[in-house]
Every structure is written in structure tokens, then in C-alpha cells.
Symmetry: C2
Subunit: 368 residues, 2 copies
């Protein structure tokens, strides 16, 4: 068999086993491969220690079937989310069991050195724990806001972001001797949602925070675009009554909190609980702006399954209903639109980043 | 070798040969397949008469190499573009040589029966010509505005379109005994552009006409979305100074022509030649609206190569420069943006529809 096809099949089989324990026969059936092909590849995965066999208790008469699963300790990976305020780390083993989830605030100055120090502290924490267990860190993925150069492992934008424009992946690779990837945060949120819920379809995962972005999954695969970004819904141009602004200028977390405080509330939660008419009107205007961005997304990608993560979740289900109604009003033609809040608890982005590191690391080991 | 992999490889080899004459060795190298695999599949393609061998005159010393090309007469296919005013037909052989390109106006009433009659007239014209040549029509693709149900071969929308909501593919299949597909017109424009220019990258092809839509090619493959549409840039919500409208409401051909006439010009060409300040301002406002749609497209798809087909081409290169400037002003970060008018002469959509029919027909024959 040719090397490129073999690589391809190895990845497919690996991803299938990552999803859930499965027998050789089931893999062959699901992926449309011969039993011989599956057998050969699985033999190598077993030899490399990536996969382990597990006897299932027999159902009814007959021999017990043998399931394949990822060897839990064959790798330990870290997902590291950097926001403008803090970092979050998620350490997991190869079966995606979370060993650590922690956050660390960034220094007030948001300077490069200070921010890097916090990043190192997070990774050191994971490394130390693994050392105590007699394990080492295999790979890590940094999830950062804005466009990234995935090839070079550099955060391109936002320019004022403390870790932008430095060879971040190389820096961390040299320091920790692990494989390192740099990815967009919303993309990793989408990956996290996909693996956490086990869905394999096409959907858009929207990250609402200080900025607004989205990760796009097409038939179970992350869609990246060609510019270091895609799904930048926060850059939708909307008219705010006086001028055109970016969607994230009117719907970003800072703007919303500022407005809520200007109405005399301490927090978003307090404002929403108050059931004040001004709050209701304000949320309606947010839904109006946001529906414009969603409609663009739906009309351009032809995908109408949308999952919203981040601070919008605090707006509650009435907001969601209103948003859906506003979207359906201007839909190209009447069809099902599925808009929901992410049911995944934090840390979905750091979790997604860790899974991303795991997928890529195992694939390299399996196909090398 | 397994059937699904073989099918996949057959399609790849077929598409490569459709692109340009090529030797077995070159195919193996370009596609990363073994010579044995290529040899086996090519043998079947030769047996089925889809592919023909051609001796190249030797370059320098050595045996002449043997090129493979598509047998010109192994299929004849028709692309049929239906607009709101007329139909265009493009009949080609399997080497994509155009035998007929003609347009027929639709009846004034735009009724279903009358429109179908014109469609039949177009197909009959092609059929009669082929009969004289002793050939038959193998397949045809209808390109229509708005969302289509590709699986069922039905135009979903626009609802007031005379051919909407009828089983169009089945109807034509029964009547002509040929394979029939129904596709979106902008998608077929993108396919036409791709094959006409031989490009194999990612780009967005925008159809400007009474409506505004786009076809999206990602790494040489048409991206379809899941709702029967994708790339519906005409449905971008823009603020017209008083209220939100759809982009195609302000940039569609009818609106533009009406406005040009209200300024006292007979035609768009006359208005542009006049160099009247009012015309310049008006074109600037069109560029402003259109740049909003393009920015959404670029920011969401992460693709910054845009080809514009349709009546916008009449606006000329100054318009294009202005448009590009407006797009670059609000780009997420400074990177190359490539916006051009389609260099393909009409009938790019009917041509694309014919190529679509050819690709699909040959693939079916090759893999059945």
C-alpha cells in the first residue's frame, strides 16, 4: 500500500478509536476499509503503545469481542488558553481525562515578559505534576485571540497583545522539549465542543468575550481559511445608529459591561435579574446586532447550526429565543435554524486546545 | 484494492486528465499513487473509451512518451443557464470544445409552461445538432438562481421563479433520457472560471446581476454548505441611510439601471462614459455597500481572492481599485487582497454548468 494512503488510513483509524472504544470489525465497516488494512495498521498502533486491547464481556453466546482504545498514559498534553486577562491550562492524558484545570491572572501591565512568565508558570505546574507521576509532557497547544500563523506558530494579531509577533511555538518547544502548536481560541473552542459532545456534523461555534470570533467545523473537520483566520464574525460591519462599527464594538464584553454599569447595575447578572425595561431593550438591541452577524454566517457558509460559548450565556434563554426569531425573519428561505448556548462547562477552549495537541501528537507518532 | 479507495483514485486520475494531457508517470508523481495503481485504472478508462492515448513527438533522445487525454467524442454535455429573462445553452464535447452557445429570451409572462417550452427548445436544439453528428446527449446541468436542492434536482427559491418547486431534474431526465443535475448559477460560474482558467486554488466567484450571489471554491473543490446554498453575499444586511436592506437591493442590476436612468442616462455604459460627478458618487456608494459584503466574505471564509463576474464588469477598473481600497481599510490585518473582474467571456455560467455535467457524467461512467 502506498505511504500517503496508509498515512491517511492511519489517521482515520486513530481518530475513530479516540472517539470511543471500537472493535477491528466495526472500524472496517464504519470506514469502508478491508479487515486486512485495519489489522495491519492496528498492529502498528499496538506496537507503538498508542492503542490497547480490551476484552469486552461477551454479549449472549460466543467469544468475547476485543475493543481497541487509546492507551491512557501513552501521552500527556496541555491546552493553554491565553486571553487578555488570564491564562487557563488544561492538562489531560491520552484518554482525555483532565488532570489539571487552573487559571492564572495576567500581570496588570500586560507586558511581554510578565505575560510569558505566567505562561511558563502554567506549563511548569503541569510539568511538575507529570514528573511526580513519572510522566512527561508530550505536546501542548496555545489558544490565542485573533489571527495566528499556524505554520510558524506565531500570533499575528491583535498587535497590542503581549504575545503577538514573537516565535511563540519555537520558544516553548525549545524550553520544554515538547511539540507545540499555536491556534486561534475560537477554533479551539469549536474543537473542544466537538470532542466534548461527540458530534461529527457541521456547526459554527461562537466565542463571545471581549472580542467575538467563531470556529467553523465542516463535517467534523476544522475549517481554517487561508489568511490565518476564518469565521471572524466580530468583524461584521454593523450600523450603530450613527456610523458603521464592528460587531464586537457593540457586542463585546467590555462594551456590554460598561453599558450595564451606566444603567446603575453592578454586574450583568444583576441587570438581567432586575427585569428592568431598559435592560430588556438593551438586550434586544444586542440580539439585533448579533443576528446580522449570524445571518451573514448562515447565508455565506450555508450552515445553520450555531453554538454560542462565552459570556452571552449569561443573557439566558429568552435572549436566545429572541435571537433565533430575528435570524429567521431575514432567512433566505424558511428552513431549520438551530442556535443554542454551549452546554460544555468551562474550560472548553483550553480543553479543545489540549485535544488538538493530542490529536496532532498521536497522529505524528502513529505515522512516523 | 478496496472499492471506495479505487473510486476515489479513479476520480482523481480522471480530473487530472480532464485538466490537460498527461503521461502515466506524471499522474503517479502528481497524485502520489503507485505506477501499478495508475496503470490499472488507466487501462479501465481506455477500455471504456473515456481516455485516448496520444504519442508525443520525442523531446531529444529516447522513446516518444505517451500522453493520455479525454476522448473528445466519448460524451456530449449541455449546460443550461436560466436567468429571470432568458436561457443560455452551452453544448460541448468531452474535451470541452464548445459546439453551440446560444441564448433565448423567456416569454413576457414568465409562466411555468412558457418557460419550460423555451427550456425544451434549447435542449432540442442541442439534441438535433448531436443527432446530425450521429451522437447523443449524455448529460446536462441546469444552472438557476437561488438555493437549489441538489439531491432532488429542484429549484427551491426564488419562489416566484417559474421553474421553482417542480421536480425539474426528473422532468428533463424522463424527457431526454440523459443524466440531469440542477445547480446554483453562481456555483456554476465558479466552476466555469476554475476550468476555463485552469486555476486550482481557493477563490470566491461573485455573480452580479439582478441578484448577487457567489460560488466558493476551496482548494479547487466547490463548497456547497448544507442548506442548498452558500456564499449568498447578496443577503448581507446593509444600512442604506434609512434602514437595513439586503445588499442586492442596493447593488442589483435593476436598481442600478433604474438609478442611472433617473440621472438622465440611457444606459450604464453612457453614464460611465459621461464622467459625471453624480455617476462617480453613485459608483462610490455601490463600492461602499459592496465592500461590506466582501469584507464579511473575506473575514468569514479567510479567502481573499475574489473574482467578479456579471454586470459589475461594466463599472471598469477605477471601480475595482476603489473597491479594493475600501476593503483593505477595514481588513482584520494587512494582507494581500486580490479582487479582479472575471476575464472569462460569457457564457461562463452555461460553460461551468456543462463542465459540471461532464465531470459528473464521466465519473459515473468511469466508476460504475
Amino acid at each position: 500500500m502506498l505511504r500517503s494512503i496508509r498515512k491517511d488510513n492511519t489517521s482515520k483509524i486513530l481518530k475513530r478509536i479516540m472517539k470511543s472504544p471500537v472493535s477491528r470489525v466495526e472500524i472496517a465497516e464504519e470506514l469502508g476499509l478491508t479487515k486486512t488494512t485495519v489489522g495491519e495498521i492496528v498492529r502498528i498502533l499496538l506496537e507503538k503503545g498508542i492503542v490497547t486491547e480490551e476484552k469486552d464481556s461477551p454479549r449472549g453466546v460466543g467469544r468475547p469481542t476485543i475493543s481497541l482504545k487509546i492507551t491512557p498514559d501513552c501521552a500527556h498534553v496541555l491546552g493553554l488558553e491565553v486571553t487578555r486577562d488570564e491564562i487557563a491550562i488544561c492538562l489531560m492524558n491520552a484518554s482525555m481525562s483532565i488532570l489539571i484545570y487552573e487559571t492564572y491572572p495576567l500581570p496588570f501591565q500586560r507586558d511581554r515578559e510578565g505575560t510569558l512568565k505566567i505562561v511558563y508558570r502554567g506549563i511548569d505546574r503541569a510539568k511538575n505534576m507529570l514528573e511526580k507521576l513519572g510522566r512527561k509532557l508530550s505536546a501542548l497547544t496555545v489558544a490565542a485571540p485573533g489571527p495566528v500563523d499556524v505554520e510558524k506558530g506565531i500570533i499575528i494579531n491583535p498587535r497590542n497583545f503581549p504575545l503577538s509577533q514573537i516565535p511563540l511555538a519555537d520558544l516553548l518547544k525549545d524550553k520544554y522539549g515538547a511539540e507545540v502548536w499555536v491556534e486561534n481560541d475560537a477554533d479551539m473552542g469549536a474543537v473542544g465542543e466537538k470532542w466534548y459532545t461527540g458530534r461529527d456534523d457541521s456547526f459554527v461555534w461562537i466565542l463571545t468575550g471581549k472580542g467575538i470570533g467563531s470556529g467553523i467545523i465542516i463535517n467534523g473537520e476544522l475549517y481554517r481559511g487561508e489568511n490565518g483566520y476564518a469565521g471572524e464574525i466580530g468583524y461584521t460591519r454593523v450600523f450603530d445608529g450613527e456610523r458603521y462599527v464592528f460587531l464586537e464594538d457593540v457586542c463585546g464584553e467590555d462594551t456590554v459591561l460598561k453599558h450595564v454599569r451606566s444603567m446603575g447595575f453592578e454586574s450583568l447578572a444583576e441587570a438581567i435579574e432586575s427585569e428592568d425595561d431598559r435592560v430588556r431593550e438593551y438586550l434586544d438591541s444586542i440580539a439585533e446586532f448579533f443576528s446580522t452577524g449570524l445571518l451573514n454566517l448562515i447565508h455565506l457558509f450555508g450552515i445553520s447550526k450555531v453554538v454560542i460559548g462565552g459570556f452571552f450565556k449569561e443573557f439566558g434563554n429568552d435572549f436566545l429565543k429572541n435571537l433565533k426569531m430575528k435570524v429567521e425573519r431575514y432567512l433566505l428561505y424558511k428552513h431549520e435554524v438551530d442556535i443554542s448556548f454551549s452546554a460544555v462547562q468551562e474550560p472548553v477552549i483550553a480543553f479543545g486546545a489540549a485535544v488538538h495537541a493530542l490529536e496532532n501528537y498521536l497522529e505524528r507518532v502513529a505515522t512516523s
